[in-house]
C-alpha cells in the first residue's frame, strides 16, 4: 500500500505521516475555502440570488479575499475570559478534525496510515471536538457562548450514540471496522442498499455532529447569536469555521466510503487513482450538496426536540438495525431480505419523524369567517 507523500523516498513512517498530514491540512484549507464558495453559490441559487460575483470571475477569488480579511482582522479576547480555555479551545477543536484524515483512504493507494480499526478511530476522533466547544463556551465568559457550549456538548454526545450504533450495524454486515475493508466489501453493491435505515440514521446524526442546520443550535444565529463563537474573531473564528467545514468533509467522506462504496463501487478498483479520486470527490460532493440543500430548506430544531429526536427516535431505530443485522447474520438470510427489512425500518423512521412532531390530535384548520359586501356597489364617479 503506497503512502501519501512518501511514494518512493524511504523515510520513517511517522515522518511520512506528518508530511502527509501537513499536505492534507493545506489542501483541506483551500478545499474548505472553496467549499464556502460552493455553499454560497448553491444556496444563493436556491434563494433567487447570485452569490459571490465581485471578486474574480464568478466570485472565485472570494474565499481568498475572505481568508485575507479574517487573517488580518484583530484577534480579540474578552478581558474576563478564561485565557487558557479561550486560547486552547480552537486547538481542541481544530486538531481532532485534521488528524481524522490520517485514516481516510482517498483512493486505494492514498492513505496516510492504514489502521485496522480506522472506523472506530474516525468516530472517536470526531467525537473529541465537544471538549473544544465546552472550553470555548465556558472560556468566553459570555452567557450566549455558555448556552451554546452546553448545547454543543449535549448535542454532540447524544448524536454520537446513534451514529456509532449505525456504524456498528455496518461493521456487523461487513465484518470489519476498517474503512478500507468496508470499501472493498462494497465491490458489487453499496451498503446504502443493504442498510437504508443505517444510512438514514447516519445521515441525520452526521448533520447533527457537524452542527449544520437544522441541527445548528449551538451556533443558532437567531437565538444565541453565534453561540460558542460569539466572542471569537479574526483568525480564531476562521479556524472554528474551517474546522466545522473540515468536519463536514470528514463525515461526507465517511458517508461516501461507508455507504456509497467509495472508490470501489461501481467501477471496481482498477480504474487508476485519478478516477478513484474523482469518484471519491463526486460522492463526497453529493453529501456536501445534501448538507447545503438541507441548510437552505429547513428551520432549526429546538433544543428539547433535538434531544428527544436523538434519544427517542434515532437510538431505538439504530438498535433495531443492529437487531436486524444480527438476525441476518445468525440465520444467514440473503442480502435482499436484510435490505428489505432495513428499508421498512427506514420508512418507519421517516413516518415516525413525521408523527413524533405532530403529537396529539390533528390540528383544526383555521376558521374562515366570511364577510359579505353590505355597502352600496360602486357608484359612478361624482
Amino acid at each position: 500500500m503506497m503512502l501519501l507523500a512518501a511514494p518512493s523516498i524511504d523515510m520513517p513512517g511517522w515522518l511520512a505521516s506528518i508530511i502527509g498530514l501537513v499536505a492534507i491540512t493545506l489542501v483541506m484549507t483551500v478545499g474548505v475555502a472553496y467549499a464556502t464558495w460552493y455553499e454560497r453559490k448553491i444556496i444563493a441559487r436556491m434563494q433567487l440570488r447570485l452569490g459571490p460575483t465581485r471578486v474574480g470571475p464568478f466570485g472565485l477569488l472570494q474565499p481568498i479575499a475572505d481568508m485575507v480579511k479574517l487573517l488580518v482582522k484583530e484577534d480579540l479576547r474578552p478581558a474576563t475570559a478564561d485565557p487558557v480555555a479561550f486560547e486552547l479551545a480552537v486547538f481542541a477543536i481544530f486538531i481532532p478534525a485534521f488528524i481524522a484524515f490520517v485514516a481516510v483512504p482517498f483512493t486505494s493507494d492514498w492513505l496516510i496510515s492504514p489502521l485496522p480499526l480506522s472506523l472506530v478511530y474516525l468516530l472517536a476522533i470526531s467525537g473529541l471536538s465537544f471538549i473544544g466547544f465546552l472550553m470555548a463556551g465556558w472560556g468566553s465568559d459570555n452567557k450566549y457562548a455558555l448556552l451554546g457550549g452546553m448545547r454543543a456538548a449535549a448535542q454532540l454526545i447524544s448524536y454520537e450514540i446513534p451514529l456509532i450504533l449505525a456504524m456498528i450495524g455496518v461493521v456487523m454486515v461487513t465484518a470489519s471496522a476498517d474503512v478500507y475493508q468496508i470499501i472493498l466489501f462494497q465491490d458489487r453493491i453499496p451498503l446504502i442498499a443493504l442498510q437504508p435505515l443505517g444510512f438514514l440514521i447516519f445521515l441525520t446524526a452526521s448533520i447533527a455532529e457537524v452542527e449544520r442546520p437544522p441541527f445548528d443550535i449551538p451556533t443558532g444565529e437567531s437565538e444565541v447569536a453565534g453561540g460558542v463563537f460569539i466572542e471569537f474573531s479574526g483568525i480564531r473564528w476562521s479556524m472554528f469555521q474551517l474546522t466545522s467545514y473540515v468536519n463536514m468533509y470528514v463525515f461526507a467522506l465517511l458517508g461516501a466510503f461507508v455507504f456509497l462504496g467509495g472508490w470501489e463501487w461501481p467501477f471496481g478498483r482498477d480504474i487508476g487513482w485519478g478516477y478513484q479520486l474523482l469518484l471519491t470527490v463526486v460522492k463526497m460532493s453529493l453529501f456536501i450538496f445534501f448538507y447545503l440543500w438541507i441548510r437552505a430548506s429547513f428551520p432549526r430544531m429546538r433544543v428539547d426536540q433535538l434531544m428527544s429526536y436523538a434519544w427517542k427516535v434515532l437510538i431505538p431505530f439504530a438498535l433495531l438495525q443492529i437487531f436486524l443485522n444480527g438476525l441476518f447474520i445468525v440465520y444467514d438470510a440473503p442480502g435482499v431480505v436484510l435490505a428489505a427489512a432495513s428499508a421498512a425500518g427506514a420508512a418507519a423512521l421517516a413516518y415516525l419523524a413525521f408523527r413524533s412532531v405532530r403529537r396529539g390530535e390533528p390540528r383544526k384548520p383555521l376558521r374562515m369567517v366570511p364577510v359579505r359586501a353590505t355597502g352600496a356597489p360602486a357608484r359612478s364617479a361624482t
Binding site: 444563493a44 436556491m46 434563494q47 433567487l48 440570488r49 460575483t53 430548506s297 429547513f298 413525521f354
Partner: protein, 155 residues
C-alpha cells in the same frame, strides 16, 4: 416527512428553474419611475435663463423638517426688462441630511420652481461629511440647468 420533502423540493425547484432576481447595482441601475422622489432641486427657466424660483418662502414655511433656507433679492434683470420676475432667489440652501423627501415643498410651490429629482444622481449622494449635504443654490440648480432632470412630480 412529506413537508420536509416539500421544503427541499421548493428550494431545488427554485435553484433549477428560476433566475436570480439580483440587480448588480453599481453597474446596473434599476429603471426608476418618472415620479420618483429623490431630493428636491430647483428648476431652471430655459426661456428666461434664470431660475423659476422667486424666493417666496412658501416651501420654507411648509417644510415639516425645516431643512430649507431661502433668501430673496430684487431681480436685476427685471429692471432691464429682460425678465418679468420682480424678485428672484438670492440664496437657497437645502440640507439633504435633514430633508425627508415628503414632496410638500413641490406641492406648495406656486411657480413650479422646485421639483423632486427623479434621476439616480438624486439618490447617490453619499458624502463623508454631513455638512457637505447642505446644498446651495448652484448645486441645486446645476442638474436642471444641464437639462438632466425633468421632475415627474410638479405642483
Amino acid at each position: 416527512m412529506l413537508g420536509i420533502l416539500r421544503s427541499m423540493g421548493v428550494t431545488a425547484k427554485v435553484m433549477l428553474t428560476r433566475k436570480p432576481v439580483t440587480i448588480q447595482y453599481p453597474e446596473v441601475h434599476r429603471e426608476i419611475p418618472n415620479r420618483d422622489r429623490a431630493f428636491p432641486i430647483l428648476i431652471w427657466d430655459e426661456e428666461k435663463d434664470e431660475p423659476f424660483c422667486t424666493g417666496c418662502h412658501a416651501c420654507e414655511r411648509a417644510c415639516p423638517v425645516e431643512c430649507m433656507t431661502v433668501v430673496m433679492k430684487d431681480n436685476p434683470r427685471h429692471a432691464t426688462g429682460e425678465s418679468k420676475r420682480r424678485k428672484i432667489i438670492d440664496e437657497f440652501w437645502i440640507d439633504y441630511g435633514r430633508c425627508m423627501r415628503c414632496n410638500i415643498c413641490v406641492e406648495v410651490c406656486n411657480f413650479e420652481a422646485i421639483g423632486m429629482n427623479n434621476t439616480w444622481a438624486g439618490h447617490e449622494l453619499s458624502r463623508y461629511d454631513r455638512s457637505q449635504l447642505v446644498f446651495d443654490l448652484d448645486q441645486l440648480l446645476s442638474q436642471s440647468k444641464a437639462g438632466k432632470v425633468e421632475p415627474g412630480l410638479r405642483a
